[in-house]
Amino acid sequence: MALNTNDINDIKIDVLKELGNIGSGNAATALATMISKKVDMDVPKVKILDFKEVPNILGGEEAPVVGIYFEMTGEIVGNIMFVLDLKSAKNLTNILLDRENKTLNLDEMDISALSELGNILASSYISSLSTLTGLNVAISIPSLATDMAGAILSVPAIQYGYIADYVLLIETYFQEGNNKVTGNLFMIPEIDSFEKLLKSLGVC
């Protein structure tokens, strides 16, 4: 394996950040189209975090969160995960289902809406990745889980663990009316795909 991600340089990080910005920009546009409402969005923040800092992004290791997980196949192999805290998840389903439900329990409607939304976000992210790199990428159907932040985030952390001692994530924030939503998107290419990805963007 020629690539050592611990030696990853600034140019590579900048490329990955830019990829994140474009991808989540498209994802937010897709959301606005889906609900036919104006969605305010901040510039997404791309963060590189040490393992120890990871669970803090969602209110601590034991905070309940929702993870929506996809497998990437094709010329880039790996995974994509969209994670949001339970409050944000509920706000999001309230936007999608056009209702004001204050409880924090997710019912079947919520789970189905979140899976579909995750699907749209991940697909629009993948499609911009595909366009930028010229590589063919497809995603699986979503798998959804609700549990402690530490447990859900151990999944992307472990996958990054094979190639590095940090994770790369894209934090997006959007708002419709009073419903505020903060979501985190993890893109986790396998090591060979990571190299292919950078090469296709001319930085390897």
């Binding site: 050592n4 990871v54 290791e61 402690m148 530490g150 447990a151 999944v155 094979y162």
Partner: protein, 160 residues
């Protein structure tokens, strides 16, 4: 008593009295070792089965094999006796499920197997475990008696 936190890919050893905790274990495995003669307790939070599988393996606490070795070393250094060590393990869940051949998601199970193999090699008996399933766990190891508290969301609380 304030518990001492052990993060992801991290390990710590203490003397009684004290509590070692790791919060929200998913597919990672929490390995606790206890010497009941000297009341010395250790906790490692490993992420991957083997340091031999990958090149980037400088962080010993990240892997079951090197993590357990390092934890034992640390405990011996503060006075534990290897012959009296017993292990309790928790975690190794599969958080997401798919109908695919990919073994990435089975990493929890592989972490548990690798942990047991290493403990067997070091002749440290596993006296109890709470592993597998599809849910996260918070664990607390009490250095006074070696009891291990396991907390979950929706799957109860128990002492193993």
């Amino acid at each position: 008593m304030d518990a001492i936190k052990v993060g992801m890919a991290d390990l710590k050893a203490i003397e009684s009295p004290g509590i070692l905790t790791t919060l929200g274990l998913g597919s990672c495995v929490g390995i606790t070792l206890f010497d009941k003669k000297s009341n010395i307790a250790g906790l490692a939070h490993i992420m991957l089965p083997s340091s031999k599988e990958i090149k980037n393996n400088s962080n010993k606490a990240k892997f079951a094999d090197t993590g357990i070795e390092l934890l034992v070393e640390k405990m011996l250094l503060i006075g534990a006796n290897k012959n009296f060590l017993v292990a309790k393990i928790a975690g190794g869940a599969q958080m997401f499920s798919f109908n695919s051949k990919s073994n990435i998601l089975k990493i929890g199970e592989r972490n548990v197997i690798a942990t047991k193999e290493k403990l067997k090699e070091l002749k440290i008996p596993v006296v109890s475990e709470d592993t597998g399933g599809n849910y996260g766990r918070t664990i607390e190891l009490n250095a006074e008696d070696g009891s291990l508290l396991v907390k979950t969301i929706g799957h109860g609380i128990k002492i193993i």
